[in-house]
Symmetry: D2
Subunit: 265 residues, 4 copies
Amino acid sequence: MTAVAELKGFMLPRSPEGEASVVPAPPWLYSGDLLTIEYRTDPGRVAAWLPTGVEPADEDPDAVALIWADWQSCSEAGDELLDPVRSQYKECFAVVRCRFEGEPYSRCVLIWVDKDFALARGWFQGYPKKLGSIWMTRPVEVGRAGPRLEPGARFGATLAANDRRLAEARFTITSDSDTGGFVNALPMLHTRWMPSIETEGKASLHELVTMRSRDVELGPAYTGTAELRLFDAPGEELSSLPVRDPIAGYWRRVGATFDGGSTLA
Amino acid sequence: MTAVAELKGFMLPRSPEGEASVVPAPPWLYSGDLLTIEYRTDPGRVAAWLPTGVEPADEDPDAVALIWADWQSCSEAGDELLDPVRSQYKECFAVVRCRFEGEPYSRCVLIWVDKDFALARGWFQGYPKKLGSIWMTRPVEVGRAGPRLEPGARFGATLAANDRRLAEARFTITSDSDTGGFVNALPMLHTRWMPSIETEGKASLHELVTMRSRDVELGPAYTGTAELRLFDAPGEELSSLPVRDPIAGYWRRVGATFDGGSTLA
Amino acid sequence: MTAVAELKGFMLPRSPEGEASVVPAPPWLYSGDLLTIEYRTDPGRVAAWLPTGVEPADEDPDAVALIWADWQSCSEAGDELLDPVRSQYKECFAVVRCRFEGEPYSRCVLIWVDKDFALARGWFQGYPKKLGSIWMTRPVEVGRAGPRLEPGARFGATLAANDRRLAEARFTITSDSDTGGFVNALPMLHTRWMPSIETEGKASLHELVTMRSRDVELGPAYTGTAELRLFDAPGEELSSLPVRDPIAGYWRRVGATFDGGSTLA
Amino acid sequence: MTAVAELKGFMLPRSPEGEASVVPAPPWLYSGDLLTIEYRTDPGRVAAWLPTGVEPADEDPDAVALIWADWQSCSEAGDELLDPVRSQYKECFAVVRCRFEGEPYSRCVLIWVDKDFALARGWFQGYPKKLGSIWMTRPVEVGRAGPRLEPGARFGATLAANDRRLAEARFTITSDSDTGGFVNALPMLHTRWMPSIETEGKASLHELVTMRSRDVELGPAYTGTAELRLFDAPGEELSSLPVRDPIAGYWRRVGATFDGGSTLA
């Protein structure tokens, strides 16, 4: 007897019914809260994170955004929403800007998430995800155990991996804002990468891709002052993007849909 | 040299500076979302969960509430709010009603939380906390990855402990509500309990206490239809309160302050 | 300023110094304990898990091994051994046998691990890893809280993912053994898979690869009787390989080195 | 209808069948690996951790042991051994010596564990347990991914809580040893503590107790050189016992039974 039906499923593991995949096929819907801390790092540090053939941004090339997000997400059918262990996750990611073939892009250079479906989705999209523990203060509407979304509101956010703190942020709202920041505002330019199974082989997957969200729905945005501390750790390089010059912090609710991208190279 | 200064701290571990306690002293502030599933269990099942000397409620004595809560909480100083790993937690708990010395009470008979500071706080209050993994769908204000707070909105909630599902709930909003349910609405009647270190000894701590929150601030409440499944597991008895007759589900944002209680017996 | 130095690192995230990769480059060294439960499933069930072009094994084609492993592992330099959060992990995986171009192979069709470095390593090797919670009884040399490695010793092992039990095994040693089982004893035939970022695109990575360990060092092996229970869960298909006919269980300590494989197609 | 049968169970939650208790009744059996790092801290620092009425040890009063342990444990019936998520846990704890009414004792002043049954057991015994993440290198018998139990073997151990590293140790075996250290070798003198539910009330539980293990079975012991780093963190005071003068490290397998203790005051 030979296998007669192709295995099914969007990602690994591929299976007879296609139900075992670590994540269902896109489109993927997202609703969440984002805290963005923007700053300038030492000159040239961002450039060192760009792959060959990709140039730093023309303006403000040393700008970095470290972003915390608390997401609920699901596939189009939305079944995961009723099994929330499979639809909620948090992440923290570092974004820079760059140019490729004359076009400006945002690029995620480091990212930590706390669920496997989000990690796998990231590898598909070129987000270089690892696991971490991510926490961010939530605004509240009743009671005193949290800030209201108004001037003076204070938020904290932390990132840890392998039982070490990697980043800590504090943010205080000073006013409403028209934007949620500028560093993560462009189409993404990501690298998808998988080395060859053969020791001396050329990479089996090495693509430069772009993507952007559709159906973006934004809640009111707030801006304010922010502090950010980055910590050294073995197996990490986030601290190679030290804070030289704080720009601002932003807090915003965001809804969006991801439905694939394009291969550029 | 003898220890000259008393050790400090609200709970264990007591330490020279009093900073090591698993939780700071009350008052404790809470802001969170509650999903309450109310139902009637088989006659007499609730009574079996009451300690000697405590009677079932006069009316509807077999009513049970299984409640999921996603909290942010802190002490009066509020420092934990900026280190949210120490201020956010989720819990799932079973509440029944009873009478003691003629007065009606609510009583939490089982509860699972996902942080140690919440577990310790519970033992102090007579909430019989164990660790579990608790998840509940969040309402959203932007995007499509979650329900809006309106009729038709669907929520899921799950409880697991020791890698086994113990409970799963589904809730669909049908309308606004004046209440968040009736089973958990009375002052709490709890037992604080610690056996003697001596094998044959009488309990070292065996108190009947009552407490209720102050400064309660309520957001809009919603009611609707609910389904609840309870699962058997070794080391657990939640399934001894089976669903015989569903009553209703409720969703509400709640803020409150806890500041101690009274010993009744 | 253009990026002048290529980014470094074995896997994502690629970084200026190559230290941020979720896992260092091979060779990877492993030392661990394996509990293997072998059984026959319903005829044709294994064949349904094989990709097009891969045939079931000639003999005993419905044999399955469900294997629990508790590993310590590291790269050649071994630094992770002194930071054990980065070197210890547990996994549970389902293995079947098959034939490709006339040669017999073992093939891992499902696998769960509890660390990101192990998950990423699996994706590199074609092990279709997801995250899970894996536990297995440890043999002991002193005290009474565990079995000794001798006839009558009893072991339990469990697998959960997304807060649901997926598998539970019990194993009792009856005697020494010459082997640790036959289903996972052949070179591995794995699929490496990554869909295209473009919605209608052909897979960006779709390789059939083989690999086998070197420098295998085996401790004494034990065999015995085993029971295995598999549970249904959304997003999972392990229960499509039901136990029809138990074969045997095996317990063995194993050391090995992985140093790459070969692409077959 | 009145509750006619008393609730059952060793600890909370007390329930109709007594199965829901966070931990079954003693005796509790333990088998595990211990890594002990002994050192002297600044003069008087240990004394500051002793309660009123308890004196520092006559000799070497500033000696501290920080101990990592990887346990398997169970109740007398031993059912948990076959459901290992309920029988395995790790802990890290700080022990000092003291005198009470002329007798010498060991005393655990801080301890972190990674399971709720172990935390509850600790509160019963006066071990002031909080949750943490604990990792320690395991010796291996096959393969190269770990040390063998012999001179030159190197071990690492780490402790984190609330996503922060609190302690890191390194240990290198230099020779066999007759002991596993002296700081944790005496009967334990612990405080059981629970504040009153009433704001101004005297503690509801405030006992000085002693206990020691029986049926101790020891594996071969090893000694060697050790390094220890302690880190500051909010809500912690471990770093108030800084390393002034390293003594030695020890590694040993230990089996023991705990079966209650005595109240001293």
